[in-house]
């Protein structure tokens, strides 16, 4: 393998030179004096203009061939079939042409490059389509009243712009806020346990946290339903019925493993030297964690928590068996079923009338904006500050230098 590959540049380079700037090399050869040419760097990866034209030509020829065969000569191919066949033909044409020009090894390399680049582009397409679709559909019914009204007195014949989702927004904020209240201290303590102590229970706990992060979110809701709602159903206590508090517990179960794992990764990045310095100066472990490790890892931890919130905001499945959903405003999370944005969307788009579906899309757009905003916030907090800091220190140093140089004149000027 390696022997065969080692011959690549030798087999490759002469043709590239001829096709690239053949005229130039011919002119330098003309004088008979034995001038030793400087060895040119050999770059088998380089895409010359000839390569680009090969690519374009392959695309065009594949498209034309498939159009001729699939559209003109036969019928019944959908656009997808056309695309698939055309892509396959393109790969074959491109491979054969490149092989003819530059040899088999380069052809395989180019083929792999093309396949890898196209698949990376294909991965992006659904995301773009999804965001565009929700945006277009959501804007149809989204009015400012969406943030003020609930679904009081909404009948199927009313237009989609009537009514709103304020009850859902209130529910989401309360449920996620409460869930954060339960899960944040626990996840932080758990991450500290995994990274800062030397207990022999760390290994099983880590395995369980990993396993819990793969827990289907519907099971979390089902668990709260089975533990707290069903056994107390006959007691009539509204705290143990469908309400926002139960939803927050279910959400907390889904949040704990994600926050724990990400915070643990961040804590691992804190240099050991800082910890050792603190311990060597006689600080307790608790003090070290509180005053050295946490401040150092603060931005990373904030990013982790914000991402955890972003995940929890969009969770629907745990709420089905806990918050249950409700069409009117219920601002008390401890009593009675409560709506939330995902539930509002889920319930509305399954209704048969068009207006309800459009209302669901308005909710989906608000949900998407919230999630994207949280995501952007997390990226903003966790952005790479090293360049900024360097710039700031440099600016400060320059300033100090300027002040030092300017001091005598400043003093003279300030005195009068």
């Amino acid at each position: 393998m390696s022997l065969a590959e080692s011959r690549v540049p030798a087999g490759v380079n002469p043709p590239t030179e001829v096709s690239g700037n053949g005229a130039g090399s011919r002119r330098t050869v003309a004088p008979p004096t034995p001038v030793r040419r400087k060895p040119r760097p050999r770059r088998p990866r380089e895409w010359t203009s000839a390569d680009v034209w090969t690519l374009v030509g392959s695309v065009v020829s594949a498209a034309c061939l498939n159009w001729l065969v699939l559209v003109r000569l036969t019928t019944g191919a959908s656009w997808f079939g056309f695309l698939l066949c055309a892509y396959a033909t393109f790969l074959v044409v491109f491979y054969v042409t490149t092989k003819d020009r530059l040899g088999k090894l380069v052809a395989v390399d180019r083929l792999a490059t093309v396949v890898i680049v196209t698949s990376a582009v294909v991965v992006l397409i659904p995301l773009v389509l999804l965001v565009a679709y929700v945006l277009v559909e959501g804007l149809k019914a989204l009015r400012l009243t969406f943030f003020v009204d609930d679904q009081t007195g909404i009948t199927p014949i009313m237009p989609s712009t009537a009514g709103g989702g304020s009850h859902a927004i209130v529910g989401t904020v309360q449920q996620v806020g409460l869930a954060l209240l339960w899960s944040l201290p626990l996840s932080l303590a758990c991450a500290v346990f995994l990274n800062e102590t030397r207990s022999r229970w760390r290994r099983p706990v880590r395995i369980f946290v990993d396993a819990m992060s793969g827990l289907p979110s519907i099971v979390a809701g089902l668990f709260i339903f089975a533990t707290l709602i069903l056994p107390f159903a006959k007691s009539g206590n509204p705290l143990f019925g469908f309400n926002g508090f139960m939803a927050s517990l279910a959400l907390a179960i889904t949040m704990i493993p994600t926050i724990t794992r990400t915070v643990e990764v961040v804590l691992r990045l804190v240099p050991d030297g800082l910890r050792e310095a603190s311990l060597a100066m006689g600080a307790s472990r608790a003090r070290t964690v509180w005053s050295v490790v946490f401040p150092t890892a603060r931005t990373g931890m904030t990013t982790a928590v914000v991402l955890g919130i972003a995940r929890a905001v969009g969770e629907t499945a745990p709420l089905l068996f806990t918050a249950f959903g409700y069409d009117l405003m219920n601002a008390n999370p401890f009593e009675g079923p409560q709506e939330s944005l995902p539930l509002f969307v889920f319930r509305n788009i399954r209704k048969p009338d068009v207006a309800a579906i459009e209302r669901g899309f308005a909710g989906a757009l608000v949900l998407m904006i919230i999630v994207l905003a949280l995501f952007a916030l997390a990226r903003f907090i966790g952005r790479d500050k090293s360049k900024q800091v360097a710039k700031r220190t440099r600016a400060r140093a320059a300033e100090r230098q300027a002040r030092l140089e300017a001091r005598p004149t400043v003093d003279q000027e300030s005195q009068p």
Partner: protein, 330 residues
């Protein structure tokens, strides 16, 4: 100066090194206890999940028997005695997950290769986009798949069954409806397992020893040659583990499937036509049912819980092993 080397202390060889004792202060003891408690709480929580699901599902399991519950295909509470079981649901779940993984893994691996080996300038943005894909709520994917993608996929299904119908899995009944099929659900779920596959595989690929990559290039290998002989063999454990993590994610996917599949449990392998249900989606669609149904749902949830737990644990073992360098032949 060189002559004044002090003789080694004679006592050293006879004295044993001082024993290190860790005497935590009162604050530290409290700190240790608190963190240990929170760690154990997670352990207990997961055990409780299994225990309570089992406890609440006792009605259904008693009436059907464990084996009966696992092997009954249909879910009928309207007949007497009721016949409910998880077999039809599990078949649907596994089929959706397999379709999702089959679609997500090649794209995930190729995208990770693109991120680690090709896109050196835009790597940061690509990683952000994959993270964003993971942050988009599954509800939005389900919504998009339900109201937009289904219409676009049906012609593909039609084309597949018309042209490749002789392959058993592409077979459909005469005049079957192609909406709400396992295939469509699998496509949507694959978008949700793609980010996790990509991030795991990317991480493993980026840990490929640079020396060996450079050696492959220095021997005159092309970039693809380097990837094929160094990166892919090194990342094999990561690819397998990442696929299994993606499978675990796909098995538990709820909302998208609840929107897309009709929710009729059946053992069918005709993935292109309307039909089928998954455990999670089925449970989601039956929120607020009567007591016996709920107990059956708990039992189904328990089966799902056990299966996803097993898949995920196996996956993390595989991934961790590949990270520590074992199981990698070079």
């Amino acid at each position: 100066m060189m002559t004044e080397v002090p003789p080694p202390p004679p006592a050293r060889s006879t004295r044993t090194p001082r024993e290190i004792v860790d005497v935590p202060s009162r604050v530290d003891r409290r700190f240790n206890r608190l963190t240990l408690a929170s760690g154990l709480f997670v352990l207990v929580l997961l055990t409780l999940v299994g225990f309570f699901l089992l406890w609440q599902s006792r009605d259904a399991l008693e009436s059907q028997g464990l084996w009966g519950f696992l092997t009954t295909e249909e879910w009928r509470t309207d007949v007497d005695p009721p016949r409910i079981g998880v077999l039809g649901l599990m078949v649907g779940t596994v089929l959706v997950a397999i379709v999702a993984v089959v679609l997500a893994v090649p794209f995930g691996v190729l995208a990770s290769l693109f991120i680690t080996e090709y896109a050196l300038n835009v790597r940061k943005y690509l990683i952000a986009i994959v993270d964003l894909l993971a942050a988009v709520p599954s509800l939005l994917f389900g919504l998009w798949g339900f109201l937009y993608l289904s219409d676009k996929v049906v012609p593909i299904s039609r084309w597949l069954t018309d042209n490749l119908g002789f392959i058993p899995i592409f077979e459909t009944d005469e005049g079957a409806v192609l909406f709400g099929s396992i295939f469509i659900a699998g496509i949507v779920v694959s978008l949700m397992s793609l980010p996790i596959v990509t991030s795991v595989v990317r991480e493993v690929f980026s840990q490929t020893p640079p020396g060996e990559k450079e050696a492959a290039l220095a021997l005159g290998g092309t970039r693809w040659g380097m990837i094929r002989t160094v990166v892919l063999p090194y990342g094999r454990g990561g690819i397998i583990g990442g696929s299994m993590l993606g499978l675990g994610r796909a098995l538990g996917e709820t909302i998208a499937v609840a929107l897309l599949l009709p929710g009729v449990p059946e053992v069918t392998f005709k993935i292109l036509q309307n039909g089928g249900a998954t455990v999670a989606g089925f449970i989601a669609n039956r929120a607020g049912s009567d007591e016996f149904t709920v107990s059956g749902l708990m039992a189904a949830g328990l089966v799902l819980f056990v299966v996803t737990l097993a898949t995920n644990m196996l996956a993390s073992v595989v991934v961790n092993r590949s990270r520590s360098g074992q199981g990698v032949e070079l």
